[in-house]
């Protein structure tokens, strides 16, 4: 599914250069459910942004579905994000002017071609995350956990083959967190979706088939 080789990311803060990723090697096969753990600030989100084609590595190689990523073709990157990747961000990143259901539908606005039944699909997904009662609420009218669930529904609408989740249960209580994990496991088992979950929670991590640990800018399995 995805293969990172010697991926480095260097940030320049003023005159000094800080290496955040110092040669990450990660191979995730199709249908895997993998969690990445690590200290705060070790570069987990940075790695996720690179995997999600939002950011580009300073050096290294990244193969997705067997093809090397060409960063020069911006439209192609957008197309891959739209069709193949579902994002669940640490800060939810919902659009404040849109209602919950409109937020869920948003990826489909940018999908050329097949349309129809989007509203029904969005409502079905909201039901699945237990938010169908708040479909017409705006994000500001929802709690953090509720916003997170909207974000999960949004990640699923495009039927992606890869879901990247950055602390998906961080804002939820243990019960809801467990429910979300059950949903992820079901998506992985029934629909064969590959999931990469970044988490602090060992309980969550242990439910995954594979746990990777990030330390000192590299992945130590």
């Amino acid at each position: 599914m995805l293969k990172l080789q010697e991926v480095k990311k260097t940030y320049r803060i003023g005159p000094t250069e800080v290496d955040i990723l110092k040669g990450v090697n990660l191979h995730v096969r199709k249908g895997e459910l993998i969690s990445i753990m690590g200290q705060s600030g070790c570069g987990k989100s940075t790695l996720m942004n690179i995997i999600g084609l939002l950011d580009r590595p300073t050096s290294g190689s990244y193969k997705l579905n067997g093809s090397e990523i060409v960063y020069a073709d911006d439209d192609a990157l957008s197309e891959i994000r739209n069709r193949s990747i579902g994002f669940i961000f640490q800060q939810y990143f919902l659009l404040s002017r849109l209602t919950a259901v409109e937020n869920v539908e948003l990826p489909m606005v940018y999908r050329r071609g097949d349309h129809g039944g989007i509203r029904e699909q969005s409502m079905e997904l909201l039901r699945r995350v237990g938010m169908d009662g708040q479909a017409s609420h705006r994000p500001s009218e929802l709690s953090g956990g509720q916003q997170q669930r909207i974000a999960i529904a949004r990640a699923l609408i495009g039927k992606p083959s890869l879901i990247l989740a950055d602390e998906p249960t961080g804002a939820l209580d243990t019960t809801v967190g467990r429910e979300i994990m059950e949903l992820f496991k079901a998506l992985n088992a029934d629909e064969g979706i590959t999931l990469v979950i970044i988490t602090h929670d060992p309980v969550i991590a242990n439910q995954c088939k594979r746990v990777s640990l990030m330390r000192d800018g590299v992945i130590a399995e």
Partner: protein, 418 residues
């Protein structure tokens, strides 16, 4: 598992455009104050362009109407003073030396085959008064019987001046003069006496109100008409000031002009005349209109530029405020083109809103202008199309740069900004 990389379906962009329009309206509504401020420039710009085009159109139609009112088969003959501005001094003194003789004028119909009717007139200076009170704007004129026909005057009371009134002290007054006299509580105007300077005239008739015409430089509504011989006697020196002549059917105004020139040359070689036809006067008016249009066009363009800068400013602020949103949209699969399209549509909608208000303002202004100038108001569809077109162009031009900036934002930089 290549579905992510191979994408063929361009599909329909209608969904995106519809979503973008909805988004644009939402975003403009959420920043009402800023939106309104940006609109002012556009509204004034489009408004003045629309007003200019539609007033121009109204004036053109109106001036044509004014000439058609009296007929296009008329020519106007005046003494040429050398130049239009009557400069004092030698030239002015010499010009008065030779004047048009009444006998020559009356002989024109016989001397020129192209002329069927002539109506000479004489202006006499002096303030008219009735019952000791001045009648404002009134003007004493010497005319002949044909004056009534050529100017298409109708009699509302009494009769018009006849050629049998030579040397008499009878006068026929215009509708405005009659109104002024009636205001002083006079019931039956016929037989009343008017005073102009030292002379007293008896009213024998009142003419109906007539619309203005470009063929004469006076209004018959303000006139006190007396027989031309009476006028010539009481205004020594001033002479015949204007002749309006009807050109016979089947001849052109140019042939008539040449005949008139030749006729007067044979009578008095020192006399120089200016003959103008409606076509010429219309052409001259159109030339003046073009100048005014050019000037107003400049004013309109400047305010449009100011308006465009306003729109661009609003869009730039909007882009920088919504970097996070841009990042989110990019993460979810929006291409650069989708983002720039969104901001471009917003900018076009913004200036279209301004354009619509501007059209209303411009049409309203031209309505008021024609109301005060007593012109027929015309709703110019062309002006509306122009307004819509121009506001579109302004929207695209001033939205282009901000939209491009938005689309060039790096997704991760946009996402991380607040």
């Amino acid at each position: 598992m290549q579905e992510g990389l191979s994408y063929e379906g361009r599909g329909d962009c209608r969904v995106i455009i519809r979503a973008n329009i909805k988004e644009a309206l939402k975003s403009l509504m959420s920043a009402k104050q800023r939106t309104l401020l940006a609109l002012i420039g556009i509204v004034i710009g489009i408004g003045s362009v629309i007003a200019m085009v539609s007033v121009g159109h109204i004036v053109q139609v109106e001036s044509l109407r004014q000439f058609k009112e009296m007929g296009t088969d008329l020519i106007s003959i005046e003494k040429d003073d050398g130049s239009d501005s009557s400069s004092p001094g030698i030239g002015g003194a010499r010009a008065t030396k030779s004047s048009i003789k009444l006998a020559d004028v009356l002989g024109m119909t016989a001397g020129c085959s192209a002329i069927t009717v002539v109506a000479p007139s004489v202006n006499v200076s002096g303030q008219a008064s009735y019952g000791g009170k001045n009648i404002p704007n009134s003007r004493l004129m010497g005319v002949t019987e044909s004056f009534r026909d050529i100017n298409k005057l109708r009699i509302s009371q009494g009769r018009f001046i006849s050629d049998l009134d030579a040397q008499s002290q009878f006068c026929v007054i215009g509708s405005n003069v009659a109104t002024a006299i009636r205001k002083q509580g006079c019931g039956n105007i016929i037989g009343e006496k008017l005073k102009v300077g030292e002379k007293v005239y008896t009213i024998v008739g009142v003419t109906e109100n007539v619309p203005e015409s470009g063929m004469r430089n006076f209004s018959p509504n303000d006139a006190l008409c007396v027989h031309i011989s009476t006028a010539l006697r009481s205004s020594k020196g001033s002479g015949i000031s204007n002749i309006i002549a009807r050109v016979s059917a089947g001849t052109t105004n140019n042939i008539a002009r040449e005949q008139v020139m030749a006729y007067f040359k044979s009578k008095n070689s020192t006399l120089s005349l200016k003959v103008s036809s409606p076509e010429e006067i219309i052409a001259q008016m159109e030339k003046q209109m073009r100048m005014i249009t050019l000037l107003m066009g400049a004013v309109g363009s400047i305010s449009l530029i100011v308006g465009g800068v306003g729109v661009m400013n609003v869009m730039l602020v909007s882009v920088s405020e919504r970097r996070r949103e841009i990042g989110i949209r990019r993460a979810l699969g929006a291409k650069r083109g989708d983002i720039s399209g969104q901001f471009l549509i917003e900018s076009v909608i913004l200036s279209m809103m301004g354009g619509t208000l501007g059209i209303l303002l411009g049409v309203g202004a031209s309505y008021l202008v024609s109301l005060f100038a007593h012109w027929n108001f015309l709703f110019s569809f062309k002006a509306i199309l122009l307004g819509v077109g121009v506001s579109n162009v302004v929207g695209i031009f001033s939205g282009y740069y901000p939209a491009r900036q938005a689309s060039m934002l790096d997704p991760i930089v946009a996402l991380k900004s607040d």
